[in-house]
């Protein structure tokens, strides 16, 4: 793939909607919400994550892929066939949009890890899939895994987000959680894989901002086997959460306190027990601290986490009505689809907003 940048500088718009009761709704609303923030992106990237869209194949990994050409496709399919049992491999449906050009070949595969390979690897199923995904992204020229979770998918590309939504016919999909991103990159545009959301397994992330700690985070993640060399600072955030929540089995609030750590001046004022916990988090996970301006929405099958950097250098607004919780860069993007929410607020820097499906107590 061309134009893989180590660190993509960009400003952006983000939006997300969760129906806490798990009721599904079409992609139309999230398109309308992100479209309102048109001026926050520049046509160089847009994308969506949708959870709950493949109920008939909810136990299979839905691997979405971009290919530059047939040669890449043939090579990757060989790898997939060797490592997975694929029940369906199909083109992701799209429609012609005049402004969307040079799209890659876009495919998805519903698959399960090949049993012998899986048991020979000695890995847990998720870890096996994660490693396969990272192998494809780092070793297969001209191929990029867009998403790899179960019962979810990511739809992204180069264009304004509302155009990308039309391109992928998202109004035809129904999900209980949607997140969206419009991109305003300040360097070379043009790579479909560089649009958000970024994903690993069920995790998806949309991100507005720039991570100035990226160099530190990346080298930290590499120690745990994550290959970040061709990724962006956004992808590093996904991996940090994957490391802490899935591999290290930490409670969500601990992971949040690691990436958006309370200031030492706040820690000094905490009760002894909490103080000890947070102090330990900051010592052990100091390299996981995300520094620099950001607002992110981290999607997962159980819900989402929305989070600002600890001194709130990027906008983030949250609203609630009876069934739904909304997050967006701007309040107007929420009011566009929910004119009169019960509650609207702007979370403080470093304060995580956690939206969960009813009956789920944890993200992971």
């Amino acid at each position: 793939m061309v134009n893989r940048q180590e660190k993509v500088l960009s400003g952006c718009a983000i939006s997300g909607i969760l129906n806490r009761k798990g009721k599904k709704f079409s992609g139309r609303e999230i398109i309308d919400s992100i479209a309102l923030m048109h001026d926050r992106s520049n046509g160089m990237g847009g994308g969506f994550a949708a959870y709950g869209i493949y109920p008939e194949r909810k136990d299979e990994y839905a691997i979405h892929l971009f290919y530059d050409d047939l040669e890449a496709k043939n090579k990757v399919e060989k790898f997939l066939n060797c490592h997975f049992d694929i029940s369906v491999g199909e083109v992701v449906p799209t429609r012609e949009i005049s402004s969307i050009e040079d799209s890659p070949l876009i495919w998805r595969y519903f698959s399960k890890p090949e049993e012998q390979k899986l048991s020979a690897s000695g890995l847990e199923e998720d870890e096996y899939v994660a490693q396969c995904v990272m192998n494809i992204n780092s070793d297969y020229q001209g191929a990029f895994v867009v998403s790899s979770g179960k019962n979810m998918g990511v739809f992204k590309g180069v264009g304004y987000p509302e155009e990308i939504g039309e391109f992928y016919k998202l109004e035809e999909y129904e999900a209980y959680l949607w997140t969206a991103h419009g991109r305003f990159p300040t360097n070379t545009p043009g790579w479909w894989g560089g649009a958000h959301p970024f994903t690993l397994l069920d995790w998806s992330i949309v991100h507005n901002g720039e991570i100035s700690s990226y160099g530190a985070n990346k080298r930290y993640l590499e120690m745990f086997g994550y290959k970040c060399s061709m990724m962006t600072d956004t992808e590093a955030i996904t991996y940090l959460f994957d490391l802490m929540l899935r591999k290290h089995d930490l409670p969500l609030e601990v992971a949040v306190k690691a990436v958006a750590a309370p200031l030492w001046s706040e820690i000094e004022r905490m009760e002894v027990e909490e103080q000890q916990l947070v102090k330990s988090i900051r010592q052990v996970y100091s390299s996981a601290l995300l520094n620099g301006p950001f607002s992110i929405i981290l999607g997962h099958q159980n819900g989402f986490i929305a989070l600002n950097d600890r001194i709130k250098l990027r906008p983030l607004v949250v609203a609630e009505d009876e069934e739904r919780i909304y997050v967006a860069s701007e309040e107007s993007a929420i009011r566009e689809i929910c004119a009169d929410p019960d509650k609207v607020w702007s979370p403080r820097g470093g304060e995580a907003v956690i939206g969960l499906l009813e009956g789920r107590s944890e993200i992971e």
């Binding site: 180590e6 660190k7 500088l9 960009s10 400003g11 300040t186 901002g209 720039e210 100035s212 700690s213 990226y214 160099g215 530190a216 985070n217 080298r219 930290y220 590499e222 120690m223 745990f224 591999k247 290290h248 930490l250 601990v254 750590a261 200031l263 030492w264 001046s265 000890q276 916990l277 330990s280 988090i281 900051r282 010592q283 052990v284 996970y285 100091s286 390299s287 601290l289 995300l290 520094n291 620099g292 301006p293 600890r310 001194i311 250098l313």
Partner: protein, 500 residues
């Protein structure tokens, strides 16, 4: 006595019209340069004794004195430089080993000066440390690779850590190599700013015990002053294997410096030479180091982090990895420009490697082996200003030791003659008359000011990079760019060229 073949190194210039013949310079010069000439009724100087320490220049009430390089020059020769010729003449006189003080002064590449820092523009706001919080707090010690909870979901205690308010510590300088007043100044400054000073291999003087929480006690090959109380008195323990100024060799404090106080503190008889062997004679390999590390941990009930200090040599990376697996909590690497009270000149100027390259290589190796999180990495060996500190952290260090800079803050003018014991600034001397020139009440303020000044500057640089906690800079080599470096040098440093 035969003729001294050497030309004086320095020329003492006196502005006759300013000089009031107060003779302060004469009283202040332990090298006996200045004298009052009765016949001519004026002050004169023995240039050949001058070491250019600037004491007389600073003390002269009428600014009558200036010291400069002696104008006499050898015939130009890029091979046989004046230094080379003078060294041979010295040795022809004495038949001894050439001695030097302070760090390697030779003209070799200083990598700090080939590294440049980043700053935010537009896409990422720079952060103003005067308006926003900016955190330099640093913890040194072993950290588990993941946070662990017990059955009651209580967090498990971490191994012991040293807490620093800024990523800077005062490097190892023993009582003996420096005066008690210099020790007191640094210890008190460390305690007031919330950092650590290091005792060096000199034991712990009674008067310094009050600063225990800010003390790293050193255990070196001579084991001077080491006993149970000593180990328990500090916040951490450092095993000194090597020193950047003199890798591979031991130390020697001459008997004339071992007065009653030094004798008591080091637990050796008065007037005897204090000889530190080149190796620890109980450490002939890595498994022996492990035994010493655990012996010290056992002795202090696992309450103190143990550091192992080595000099930066060719295979530092592999050695550091061994030290980490041997159980050290902190690894300290001292580069070839590191200072010393006395070192053989040939060793100081030719053995060891630059700290910048050693640091990059060690950090890389520890990460490759998944050990980096488990140990803290401290570097030293000519960290000259706050920008050097920032570059060291970005290359991968947790903190730095400064020693030469600390002594300069106390008055050292870098005359590099510490080994003579005649330090006119009261720092590298045990002569009571000279020692009392350094007032610890003033000294501690100056050392404290230095750390505070650097901390302010570090915060400004961090803020410029859009970072508000030091840990986000650690190992963040994307914040560095190289200039005037070869591809291979950039590769070892793990840094891109400016413009990339």
């Amino acid at each position: 006595m035969s003729l001294n073949y050497r030309c004086p190194e320095f020329l003492v210039e006196r502005v006759e019209s300013n000089c009031i013949e107060c003779q302060a310079c004469e009283r202040q010069c332990a090298n006996e340069v200045h004298f009052y000439d009765q016949d001519f009724e004026k002050m004169r100087a023995k240039d050949e004794n001058c070491v250019n320490c600037h004491r007389c220049v600073v003390i002269c009430p009428t600014n009558a004195i200036g010291i400069r390089k002696h104008p006499s020059e050898y015939k130009e020769n890029h091979n046989w430089t004046a230094g080379m010729i003078n060294n041979i003449q010295k040795q022809a006189e004495s038949g001894g080993v050439l001695l030097s003080g302070m760090g390697n002064p030779t003209k070799k590449k200083i990598y700090w000066d080939h590294l440049l820092l980043n700053a935010s523009q537009v896409t990422n706001p720079s952060i103003d440390p005067l308006r926003e919080p900016m955190e330099l707090k640093t913890f040194l010690g072993r950290k588990p690779s993941k946070l662990e909870f017990d059955e009651e979901e209580q967090i498990k205690d971490l191994p012991p850590q040293l807490e620093l308010s800024a990523p800077i510590m005062f490097g190892a300088m023993s009582f003996g190599s420096i005066s008690i007043n210099a020790c007191k100044s640094l210890a008190r400054a460390a305690s007031e700013v919330g950092i650590i000073y290091n005792t060096g291999e000199g034991g712990l003087h009674e008067d310094l015990r009050q600063y225990g929480e800010n003390t790293m006690v050193q255990v070196a090959s001579g084991r001077f002053g080491v006993n149970q109380d000593y180990l328990e008195a500090g916040a951490g323990i450092e095993i000194k294997i090597g020193q950047g100024a003199k890798p591979g060799i031991g130390g020697h404090l001459p008997g004339e410096k071992v007065g009653p106080e030094v004798s008591k503190t080091r637990m050796i008889p008065e007037g005897t030479d204090a000889l530190s062997p080149a190796p620890h004679h109980d450490i002939y390999s890595i498994e022996d180091l492990r035994q010493l590390i655990y012996a010290l941990k056992e002795a202090t009930d696992y309450q103190k982090p143990v550091s192992v200090k080595i000099s930066a040599v060719h295979n530092s990376a592999a050695i550091a990895s061994g030290i980490a697996t041997a159980g050290a909590d902190i690894i300290t690497i001292d580069g070839y420009r590191g200072g010393t009270g006395a070192a053989p000149t040939m060793i100081r100027d030719n053995v060891g490697i630059p700290i910048e390259l050693a640091l990059a290589a060690v950090d890389d190796r520890l990460r490759e082996e998944g050990l980096r999180n488990q140990v803290s990495l401290v570097v030293s060996g000519s960290v000259r200003n706050s920008a050097d500190v920032v570059k060291a952290i970005a290359l991968g260090a947790d903190a730095v030791y400064i020693a030469s800079a600390a002594l300069i803050s106390l008055g050292c003018h870098m005359c590099q003659s510490c080994y003579t014991g005649k330090c006119n600034w009261g720092i590298a001397t045990q002569e009571p008359e000279l020692v009392k020139r350094l007032n610890p009440e003033v000294g501690f303020e100056r050392a404290k000011n230095l750390i505070e000044g650097w901390a302010h500057e570090i915060k400004e640089m961090l803020g410029g990079m859009g970072i508000n906690a030091l840990e986000s800079l650690r190992g963040n080599r994307l914040m560095l760019r190289g200039i005037d470096l070869t591809d291979r040098e950039l590769e070892i440093l793990g840094v891109k060229l400016a413009g990339e």
